[in-house]
């Protein structure tokens, strides 16, 4: 893992603006008004992870949501004896919005496959900021609920017919 270079490259002059643009296009934040988004964009931090670095660890409660700005990462699951790769994430993916809303331990690990730049928002800062805009919390929950619903609908459409055992375990949108 590497820290933010802090260097004076072309992007430096517009990091805040860039963060703002990124947040505007993430479903989790997309319903928030611009003033709130600006505060959140300001509170985000960038971290550079080197290939092989762990971004977050299974069983930890690291309290962060992250957006992959560049690079690739692997989602891993450890079941006590062996580790299996679930899927890969690439630039443009947003991971861990739910862990911003409250204490939550990771059921998976995320490892940088190549050198990866992440935009990170910590729960502590997110909560403090949202405390200032209490009337906007429902927008976040609404976005979350919609996402959950879409996820399950797609799952039913795409996989329920082909995967026999799966239908037993659906129902996350009924939570």
């Amino acid at each position: 893992m590497n820290s933010n270079s802090g260097g004076n490259d072309a992007c430096q002059s517009c990091e805040f603006q860039e963060n703002l643009n990124i947040l505007r296009h993430i479903y989790f934040f997309s319903r928030l008004p611009l003033d709130t988004l600006k505060v959140l964009a300001y509170l985000c931090e960038r971290e550079v992870f080197k290939a092989g670095d762990t971004i977050f660890q299974q069983n930890d409660d690291d309290g962060q949501a992250l957006y992959i700005v560049s690079g690739e990462a692997r989602l891993l699951h450890h079941d006590g004896s062996h580790e299996s790769e679930i899927r890969e994430y690439a630039a443009g993916d947003f991971i861990g919005g739910l862990s911003l809303t409250g204490k939550m331990e990771r059921l998976f690990s995320l490892e940088a496959k190549t050198d990866t730049v992440c935009l990170i928002l910590y729960r502590e800062k997110f909560t403090k900021a949202m405390d200032q805009f209490p009337d906007q919390a429902p927008r976040i929950f609404q976005a979350m609920a919609e996402r959950l619903l879409t996820w399950e609908r797609n799952f039913l459409n795409d996989h329920a017919a082909t995967c026999e055992g799966c239908i037993q375990f659906v129902g996350v949108s009924l939570l």
């Binding site: 820290s3 933010n4 004076n8 430096q12 505060v39 300001y42 971290e47 200032q132």
Partner: protein, 839 residues
């Protein structure tokens, strides 16, 4: 114990404070008063003699003598008056301090149930405001009535001696005043009582809104809360109006009657003088003496009012705290007991004041060193049971015996000596880590095995407990972030410089990704612009970083190096962006971590940005320019991302750095100490000194990597303990708010374990910890404390209870089931249901 501490403070009368500990002062005061009264009457006699003797006999000598005596006694009276005020104030402040201390002492011992019903604001108000008048009263209690009654009697006697008839006439007004004033005062007192009570309601209301502000804002319940507050405020307005009307009514009545005095003298005295029955000198003396009756009389009335006000407030305050502690603080007639860790609980029940049964028929025994895990649904009484065993509540019936002794009959000192308690949300007090770590030991002073000279655990023990509870690395970090003063740590500073060199060769490469090393030829993105320009530290106040923007020499340099205008521009942009993004947020530190502005500066810069909308940079006055430069000089491009950092400015600053070095070397070589591998940098932390650079990130994983390397180095150099000892001096802030939730909880556990008590009670003590820390504490309990200390742990996570000697599952205040983990799971009863859910 002292005499007065035996009578509970709440039952003491206000008068009991007047003499206590102040006997000698009060006696001295009386003596001074008697002399003062004499010094006050003497001028009147001199006045008469000047007119009747000196002027009449045209004797300059007599005139000089009488005037001399007059002047002398006036000076003496003024001096003594000052002395009286001084003595009164000393007594008043001593009494007030004593009252506050004793009431505070009393409040701390009151049962927890009392505090559930009491708002902190009210306790603050009682101790800070309401008692002050009682203190003032104690200062006045003897001095004022005695001085003024004596003065009054002396003047009255003098008047009677001058002319008994006139005297009697002018004294007739006082009985009338004495009849009317108490009547008015009684009504003022009634209003005053209402005022104290309403003040209490008001303080309750304010405290409630402040603590519930999230709920109010989340519900947008502003109108509802405003209505509640307005109702109390309106009531207060009415009561204060009534109180003031009656209080001032007393003054007005008194004034009216005393002003009638001279009127009577003019009529009767004037007539007698015309008839030749009264000398002119005597009439003048009479008039003066009569006038002087007024002052002592006014002071007596004022004293009466203070007395009435003070007794109302005093009684109201004391009656509010009229509750008894549930347990004796110290054992009577014996040393505190050392108890075995055997715990027997029989048929225990606990019923609240409102009749709610929280515990019923609890029955169990723990042998010394056994561990009991308490689980159950929330509201099942787990915490209440833990608190009853820990003597925080007095149980209603049944029995709890610790080491064969009934807990209810033990004193607090017995309990604190044998027990340590970690509560659900432990409280950390303002002070250092060390203060908090030693809090329990200092209170109980029980640690006898490894006690140092002061009876407190040794440094080795303190460090060991930090290790065991997982707080060590945090404290080490605090130590590494501290700055070392030259006069206190000369040797350590030298060692750090030596260590720096071996660090660079052994670990420099491994940390290059996370650390920005101080390099004279490269721009430092994690250092301020000021540091980048000077690349040095100054011991002189005028060159301190915060003073640079207003330092004439430095400003001239900025102009010469073409940096002033671009920096002002940058400052303006920073101020603008910060105000735009953070302008409406509260001044909390967390929001300002990524801005060069401090939270308290925001209002100033908001105003500045507003003004600058219509002005250009060159039109700004000197002070505004300095303000903009100040922000710019603090800018760190690696941390403050609100604005960009143009390449051209970076190049200019690098050029400026070498120009600055040349200039300083030539003009004032002692002013700055340039960063040098061979010298300690006072303005930087120990860590930055070892690194000879700055960490680039606060990301936990990067910090871990830096920590690992630094710890390795410190172990090699045998510096670990020294730095941890410095870290223990870290100030945790009010309520420990400079620590994270996990750090606070670990500190509370460490504080409890350091006591090495026979009984340990942990009420969800690890709920804020991450998994690793939680397992660490659990291992510690199982491996280090099992068999040594009896443990009752309220547990919220079921995966850590497998190795407890006994598990108690509670339901609705009763024991649902109890036994070993495996047995209970095999039984498929309540524990099974809790762990695996209803199947």
């Amino acid at each position: 114990m002292k005499r007065n501490e035996q009578t509970p403070i709440i039952q003491r009368s206000m008068f009991s404070w007047v003499l206590e500990g102040n006997g000698k002062l009060q006696a001295l005061l009386l003596l001074v008063i008697v002399v003062t009264v004499f010094a006050r009457v003497l001028p009147l006699e001199m006045q008469k003699r000047v007119i009747n003797e000196a002027i009449k006999l045209r004797s300059t000598d007599l005139l000089m003598i009488y005037c001399g005596i007059y002047l002398g006694s006036v000076l003496l009276a003024s001096g003594l008056k000052y002395l009286i005020t001084l003595l009164q104030t000393v007594i008043a402040q001593r009494v007030l301090a004593r009252m506050r201390k004793q009431l505070y002492q009393h409040i701390l011992t009151l049962p927890l149930s009392f505090f559930r019903k009491t708002q902190p604001g009210l306790v603050v108000n009682s101790l800070v405001t309401e008692l002050t008048t009682a203190g003032t009263f104690a200062g006045m209690a003897i001095a004022v009535p005695v001085t003024n009654v004596l003065t009054l009697l002396a003047f009255a006697g003098y008047l009677l001696w001058l002319n008994w008839m006139l005297a009697l006439i002018s004294l007739t007004i006082y009985p009338m005043v004495l009849y009317l004033v108490p009547k008015l005062q009684r009504r003022a007192n009634r209003a005053n009582k209402e005022r104290v009570d309403t003040g209490r309601d008001m303080s309750d209301k304010i405290t409630e809104s402040v603590s519930g502000i999230h709920e109010i804002q989340a519900n947008g319940a502003f109108a509802i809360e405003n209505r509640k507050f307005e109702a109390i405020t309106d009531k207060m307005e009415r009561i204060r109006l009534k109180w003031t009307l009656f209080k001032d009514g007393v003054k007005v009545t008194n004034n009216l009657f005393t002003n009638l005095g001279p009127f009577l003298i003019f009529i009767v005295g004037g007539y007698l003088s015309m008839k030749g029955q009264l000398g002119l000198g005597a009439l003048v003396a009479f008039l003066s003496a009569q006038e002087k009756l007024y002052d002592p009389w006014k002071e007596i009335i004022q004293f009466y009012q203070v007395y009435q006000d003070a007794s109302v407030r005093y009684e109201r305050t004391m009656s509010y705290f009229d509750a008894e502690p549930e347990f004796a603080l110290t054992p009577e007639g014996r040393e505190p007991l050392d108890l075995e860790g055997r715990l027997e609980v029989e048929d225990l029940s606990f019923v609240t004041d409102d009749g709610i049964r929280l515990l019923e028929g609890i029955h169990f025994t723990l042998e010394p060193g056994q561990q009991l895990g308490l689980v159950g649904f929330s509201g099942s009484g787990k915490s209440t049971l833990a608190q009853c065993v820990g003597q925080l509540h007095n149980y209603s019936s049944g029995s709890i015996r610790l080491g064969g002794q009934e807990v209810a009959a033990l004193s607090k000192q017995d309990m604190t000596r044998n027990m340590s308690f970690v509560s659900q949300s432990p409280f950390i007090f303002d002070g250092t880590i060390e203060d908090n770590l030693l809090y329990g030991c200092a209170a109980a002073n029980t640690d006898k095995d490894s006690a140092g000279a002061d009876g407190l655990p040794s440094l080795d023990d303190r460090i060991a407990i930090l290790h065991q509870t997982g707080l060590f690395v945090d404290v080490l970090r605090f130590g590494l972030n501290a700055k070392l003063l030259e006069e206190q740590h000369r040797e350590l500073r030298d060692t750090v410089v030596r260590v720096r060199n071996s660090f660079q060769s052994s670990y420099g490469k491994a940390l290059a990704d996370h650390v920005e090393f101080f390099d004279p030829d490269r721009y430092l993105y994690y250092a301020s612009i000021a540091d980048n320009i000077t690349f040095s530290a100054s011991n002189r106040e005028e060159f301190a970083t915060e003073a640079l923007a207003s330092n004439r020499y430095f400003l001239d340099f900025l102009v010469a190096s073409d940096l002033k205008r671009p920096l002002m521009n940058l400052g303006l942009e920073l101020a603008r962006q910060t105000v735009e993004v953070l302008g409406d947020l509260p001044p909390e530190a967390v929001f300002f971590e990524q801005s060069p502005l401090e939270p308290q500066e925001l209002p100033d810069y908001k105003e500045l940005v507003r003004k600058l909308k219509s002005k250009r940079l060159h039109q700004l006055d000197g002070a505004t320019q300095e303000k903009l430069l100040d922000v710019a000089l603090r800018f760190q491009p690696g941390v403050h991302k609100l604005v960009g950092f143009p390449q051209i400015l970076e190049d200019l600053i690098l050029e400026g750095r070498s120009l600055f070095r040349e200039r300083i070397a030539e003009e004032d070589p002692e002013a700055f100490k340039f960063y040098d591998m061979q010298a300690y940098i006072s303005s930087q932390s120990i860590l930055n000194n070892i690194l000879f650079g700055r960490p680039k990130t606060s990301h936990p994983k990067a910090q871990e990597k830096i920590n690992q390397n630094i710890i390795q180095l410190l172990i090699e150099e045998d510096l670990l303990e020294t730095i941890v000892a410095i870290g223990m001096q870290f100030q945790v802030g009010s309520k420990g708010d400079r620590l994270s939730g996990g750090q606070r909880q670990k500190l509370a556990i460490a504080r409890a374990m350091l006591k090495k008590s026979r009984l340990m009670i942990m009420d969800e003590a690890t709920s804020a910890l991450d998994n690793n820390s939680q397992s660490r504490i659990q291992n510690l309990l199982e491996n280090r404390w099992k068999g040594k200390s009896t443990l009752i742990a309220v547990v919220h996570r079921l995966d850590i209870i497998k190795n407890y000697d006994q598990i108690m599952v509670m339901k609705a205040g009763k024991i649902g089931e109890m036994g070993k983990y495996d047995d209970l799971i095999a039984k498929k009863g309540m524990l099974y249901e809790l762990e695996f859910g209803r199947k």
